[in-house]
């Protein structure tokens, strides 16, 4: 009992940070690791004495991947729970949906979703004042892939994408950036997120004989697609996955068919493979160890976005306290922030802070990741 009292007295006030993630629902593979990560991080911070002696109070809601709930929860966090900043949502569509709420209530929002539109107001060409994001944009992943293909001398490719927000976004970037890298997209196939068989699409692609295939999906379809690719005897055509492939579980589920598949990954996925002098080595190794120790499950790439978001807010809180405008100004100027997915350099024109250097090309070798040049 004495210990509890002394713990409570150890903090001199609290900073309230809100979070909305798609913990359950169709995007739970995003929101669940994000929630677990931020909770783990908050625990660690509070165990070490909090932020300048104040307790970090996290209020987290589940939006279940639903736009209505997300909107309601973000509003609730700001008006009811009176948080000083919101991290999340996990999904691009939902993030876009709550931007007006953050702007209206002048509250910093650090999204864990990937779409570049989150930090790019199409009408003004500049970022939204109060909104930031931590995941790399799809364009960076596409550029990493195209760079690699170009270096291999490949330019006749087939693309496949899932008809979800993630797939549609990747697909439009693939198409948009193709001319820049001299890529000739000879086939553009799609499939649904619940599809269990892509042999029809792959058969069509096989008929066009591309020199490489780029697949943009997330969830079980990326695994099914690999199995179909192998079953149809197409392994001679190199297969590139999106960065959504970043989980050892996917390699496992592919049952050996993933050998030789390439994808671009952020540093936190390949912490163990990073050289010792890599600037992100220590934060990523630390995250890997703490997460796997606490939750007994493999690290997820997406949890890293949550880590980056919360850690940025914590950094701001420790520097300027919980005034919303001060936090926003601080974030916008932050340089050299070492995160799970890259080293961030924010500016008034760039509320994402990453470049394509945030991705490394990785190949599946012996059922594990291996860096490629």
């Amino acid at each position: 009992m004495g210990l509890l009292i002394s713990q409570a007295n150890a903090f001199d006030g609290a900073y309230k940070v809100g979070g909305v993630f798609s913990v359950t629902g169709r995007a739970s593979f995003l929101g669940d690791p994000e929630k677990k990560t931020v909770e783990m991080l908050a625990e660690k911070i509070n165990a070490a004495g909090g932020i300048n002696g104040k307790k970090l109070e996290l209020v987290i809601y589940d939006d279940e991947g639903d736009a209505t709930k997300c909107n309601l929860k973000v509003k609730k966090l700001i008006t009811n729970d009176k948080v000083c900043a919101v991290i999340g949502p996990s999904l691009s569509g939902l993030s876009l949906a709550v931007i007006p709420v953050a702007e209206k209530h002048k509250t910093p929002l650090v999204s864990c979703a990937a779409s570049y539109k989150i930090v790019h107001n199409e009408k003004t060409g500049k970022p939204y004042k109060w909104v930031f994001k931590t995941p790399q944009s799809d364009s960076m992943a596409v550029e990493a892939i195209y760079m690699h293909l170009k270096n291999r001398g490949i330019n006749k490719i087939a693309i496949m994408s899932v008809t979800s927000g993630y797939g549609a976004s990747g697909r439009s970037e693939l198409i948009r950036l193709a001319p820049e890298y001299n890529m000739n997209i000879i086939a553009d196939e799609k499939y649904g997120p619940k599809d269990t068989d892509m042999t029809a699409q792959l058969t069509k692609i096989k008929g066009m004989a591309p020199a490489a295939i780029v697949n943009w999906s997330i969830g079980p379809t990326q695994v099914t697609m690999i199995r179909n690719w192998k079953d149809l005897g197409m392994t001679a055509i190199p297969l590139y996955q999106s960065h959504g492939f970043g989980s050892r579980k996917n390699i496992e589920l592919a049952g050996g068919a993933a050998e030789g598949v390439l994808c671009p990954l952020g540093a936190c996925n390949i912490a163990e493979q990073l050289p010792a002098d890599h600037p992100q080595k220590s934060v990523t190794m630390d995250y890997l160890k703490s997460y796997t120790a606490k939750y007994n499950e493999p690290l997820s790439s997406f949890g890293g976005h949550g880590w980056d978001a919360l850690q940025l807010v914590v950094d701001a809180l420790s520097a300027v306290g919980d005034d919303k405008a001060a936090i926003r100004d601080y974030l916008e100027k932050k340089q050299g922030f070492v995160g799970q997915h890259g080293i961030f350099n924010f500016s008034p024109d760039d509320h994402n802070g990453l470049t394509k250097a945030a991705f490394s090309m990785v190949i599946v070798k012996d059922n594990d990741w291996a860096l490629v040049d």
């Binding site: 599809d195 079953d231 197409m234 589920l253």
Partner: protein, 300 residues
């Protein structure tokens, strides 16, 4: 790598279509069994397929039971779920109307789906293929051995069912209930038991479909709804109540989907089956092998 010929492509689409179609056919057969005895359309039919796959994963992969034991054990367990559905949701309804029964089976399908997500989570699961994964090349098309298992089980199921319904007393009793439950009970047939049996049988067939298809396309907790809709479309296409119709309907539906995805638009793949369903419902609801008189006699 040389381009493959259009003929090989078409053959590939056909083979995939027949395999996927076999699953739809089994779902459609399941619909028909229950419909024939009770005139109810069981919206939870797709969940039996899902449960077949996931329970098999549990028994065979997690618990390590050998295939030869896990297969029948899974079927028995899913059959129990089917019986459970009848006891819990169908039998207790005091004044059955179309609306009520439809809603009851929808309710159970949601319950099963929710429970599955609690037990297995949202991730997809895999089963090892029954006879390995070495593909067989055939005229330029690639066939997985598992495809043969799927189609094979469809054939076995079809034969077993026709023997059951035409040659055994129990089967004939079940058919009698479908034609006229009052007359059937007058000759001593326990109609309630026949209904329960129809759900049990339906569930068992669904389970077989789920077990055989999982090694090809994985299985996850929410696969049931789309399977039910497409299986129903197959049943209607073939003529509701007709077993050969269900099988034909399923195979045709699978093929339409496969060719549609390959030749027309892969994004609209799911829509093909549904458009076919609407066309049939609007222009020939009795389907390919059903007859108009029979559909008029049925209560629903």
């Amino acid at each position: 790598m040389e381009k493959i010929t259009l003929a090989s492509q078409l053959l590939q689409y056909l083979i995939t279509g027949l395999t996927v179609g076999s699953v739809y056919a089994m779902v459609a057969v399941g619909f028909n069994i229950i419909y024939n005895v009770t005139e109810i359309i069981n919206f939870a039919q797709g969940e039996f397929v899902m449960l077949g796959g996931l329970i098999m994963v549990f028994l065979h992969v997690a618990m390590g039971l050998p295939l030869i034991l896990a297969f029948p054990a899974t079927i028995i367990l899913v059959t129990l779920v089917g019986i459970f559905l009848d006891r819990l949701a169908i039998r207790p309804i005091r004044r059955p109307s179309v609306l009520t029964l439809i809603i009851a089976t929808i309710a159970v399908s949601i319950l099963i789906k929710g429970t599955a997500s609690l037990i297995w989570g949202k991730d997809p699961f895999d089963l090892p293929a029954f006879s390995g994964r070495n593909p067989i090349t055939f005229l330029g098309a690639v066939v997985q051995p598992q495809y043969f298992w799927v189609i094979g089980f469809l054939i076995i199921t079809a034969i077993a069912l026709s023997i059951f319904f035409d040659r055994t007393i129990l089967g004939k009793a079940m058919s009698a209930c479908a034609d006229n439950p009052n007359a059937a009970s007058l000759v001593g047939i326990n109609v309630k038991q026949m209904i329960m049996l129809s759900f049990a049988l339906s569930a068992a067939i669904g389970a077989v479909a789920g077990i055989t298809i999982t090694p090809i396309s994985l299985m996850e907790y929410d696969r049931g709804a789309m399977l039910a809709v497409k299986g129903f479309a197959a049943a209607i296409l073939g003529g509701l109540g007709s077993f050969p119709g269900a099988i034909l309907g399923g195979l045709i539906m699978g093929s339409i989907e496969s060719f549609g995805a390959g030749l027309v638009s892969s994004g609209y793949k799911d829509a093909f089956a549904l458009i076919v369903l609407l066309v049939i419902l609007f222009f020939k609801p009795s389907g390919l092998m059903g007859s108009i008189e029979i559909s008029r006699i049925k209560r629903f």
